[in-house]
Amino acid sequence: MPVIEAHGLRKAFGTTIALDGIDLRVEEGRILGLIGPNGAGKTTALNAILGLTRYQGDLKVLGREPWRQRDQLMCDVSFIADVAVLPRWARVSHLLDYVGGVHPRFDRTKAESFLAKTSIQHTRKVRELSKGMVAQLHLALVMGIDARLLVLDEPTLGLDILYRKQFYDSLLNDYYDRSRTIVVTTHQVEEVEHLLTDLMFIDRGRVVLACSMDEIESRYVEVTVNPDKVAAARALKPIRERQMLGRSILLFDRVDRQQLASLGDVRTPSIADLFVAVIGAQSMTQGAGR
């Protein structure tokens, strides 16, 4: 049974189309990375999933329609919109009290035990904490909530590398169990790629690529081609070619790995390289078409 299921999800702001008929299916226990350039429609898609914005098309989250049944949905869904949304006037203890007060599935001891691993004191106000600590605090609150779906929209934007790494490590080690589902958007793709189970590229409101990480591994191959085999490699129609240290690196989609191995060193491309190949190629074509 899918946790999120969308068919033909559309959203327009005036004449600007933010989502142009998106189909999406996320099963329980998956960690989906929603990756796209600025203005691609990622946040709009998440807002639709969270019932924060109206949409056209069919959308079901945990069997509910987010816009109509948002209040009930929020018992089962948590989200971190970005790093700076915790009320700055609140004390850490107030926030724990409040979430404990309003959320039927909040286990304070879980949140407290996570907080104990940080240097955040209960008496501190949010405004006195560093950006990284605020993100930790928000994660601690989310840790305490027994939610089925966690939505993260750029949760580590503007944090230094230590906090970013710690954030995702905690998420994977302390939060994620296989019954929970996570949807995350971020620009720092290299930091999430080891935790994703599924990947979706979205550009100009459309899904450009949607597949599991296992599929990525079997489907895409990057080859650092031996200089004498460049012509042979190009004949296999790579989706992208780049130069590095005088050698050609070609990215292939659905080409036999054995065959490619004879042309040079093969490896699975990083999400960042794949992103540039898929989205970059699309932008070029659309740019040329104009």
Binding site: K60, G63, P104
Partner: protein
């Protein structure tokens, strides 16, 4: 389709049956508590104004012996008037403070959370827009008047103690002061007056300001006043009258509310005041006001659904 979706959501419900049900009042109580911690200026401000007033009163006690001498020559009815004047002034100052606080609180109610982006956090929790808006409205309707009442009572107790000490030190008895003041009766009237004339009566105005606070990006009070001024201007232009602006202004300061009958007194607190709660509750103006308040609040709830950070 619907049956299918219901079945789906039910199956998800069944998987996590346990503590999903909270009583409906719990989020409401916590939302009010949130307002109290978020807007600590409402009680700090009241306490600060009370402190300044008390300081002024303490200094004015120097003139007490002179005043007592002039009073003893006059009739005893004047005694109450003179002795009660500072107590009425204390209540008056706190009423004025309440009006301003209610107005500024309403102007920030749905604006502050959008300004500091925390609306995204509040919306991530299972608290409905309706609960949030009603909690904010209840602060104006109940919390602020009760707070003002408590502060005024404490203020007047301190004044009584200071007054008694000053009288005793100058060789006057304090029994007359306590008897003439009728402080317990005054407190009853004060509580009634705050909840009726300063909460229920101007409630639609505060709800309007709250609605505007969820709507505009900045300068809430200015935008809230704009339609009032516009309607007033049209009325002035076509009918050469100013009834609308007068009605709003008088309602805001709690004037013209049929809450009581006073005989020429400025303050509706004292032995001559006759409370008329049934007349007040039966007044069509009050209920027309409630109708507008309900419309504004319903619009504010709807607006909050669509609104995100500014």
């Amino acid at each position: 389709m619907n049956t299918q979706s219901d079945a789906l959501s039910e199956s998800f419900q069944a998987q996590r049956a346990a503590p999903a049900v909270t009583s409906a009042t719990r989020p409401m109580c916590w939302s009010v508590r949130r307002e109290l911690s978020e807007n600590r200026w409402i009680y700090i401000g009241q306490l600060a104004i009370a402190a300044v007033f008390l300081l002024g009163y303490l200094i004015s006690l120097h003139h007490l012996p002179v005043m007592m001498r002039s009073l003893s020559a006059n009739d005893p009815a004047k005694y109450r008037e003179a002795i009660a004047a500072p107590y009425d002034a204390a209540a008056g100052v706190m009423m004025a403070t309440l009006i301003l606080m209610s107005l500024f609180y309403s102007a920030d109610a749905l604006h502050g959370e959008r300004r500091d982006r925390s609306i995204l956090f509040w919306k991530s929790l299972p608290v409905s827009d309706r609960t949030t808006v009603l909690a904010k409205a209840s602060v104006v309707l109940v919390v602020l008047p009760l707070l003002t009442f408590a502060v005024t009572v404490v203020m007047q107790i301190i004044m009584l103690v200071l007054n008694s000490v000053a009288l005793a030190a100058n060789g006057y008895g304090v029994a007359t002061l306590w008897r003439e003041l009728g402080i317990f009766q005054v407190w009853g009237q004060l509580l009634y007056h705050l909840l009726t004339a300063h909460a229920l009566w101007p409630f639609p105005i505060f709800c309007w300001v709250m609605l505007v606070s969820g709507w505009v990006r900045r300068a809430v009070l200015l935008w809230a006043a704009l339609p009032v001024v516009a309607i007033g201007a049209i009325e002035k232009l076509f009918f050469h009258t100013a009834h609308f602006i007068e009605m709003i202004a008088i309602r805001l300061i709690g004037g013209n509310a049929p809450t009581d009958i006073t005989h020429g007194e400025m303050m509706p607190l004292g032995p001559t005041t006759h409370l008329t709660p049934f007349k007040f509750l039966g007044s069509p103006d009050l209920w027309i006001g409630f109708l507008f308040a309900a419309l504004f609040l319903a619009a504010a709830v709807r607006l909050r659904r669509y609104q995100g950070p500014i």
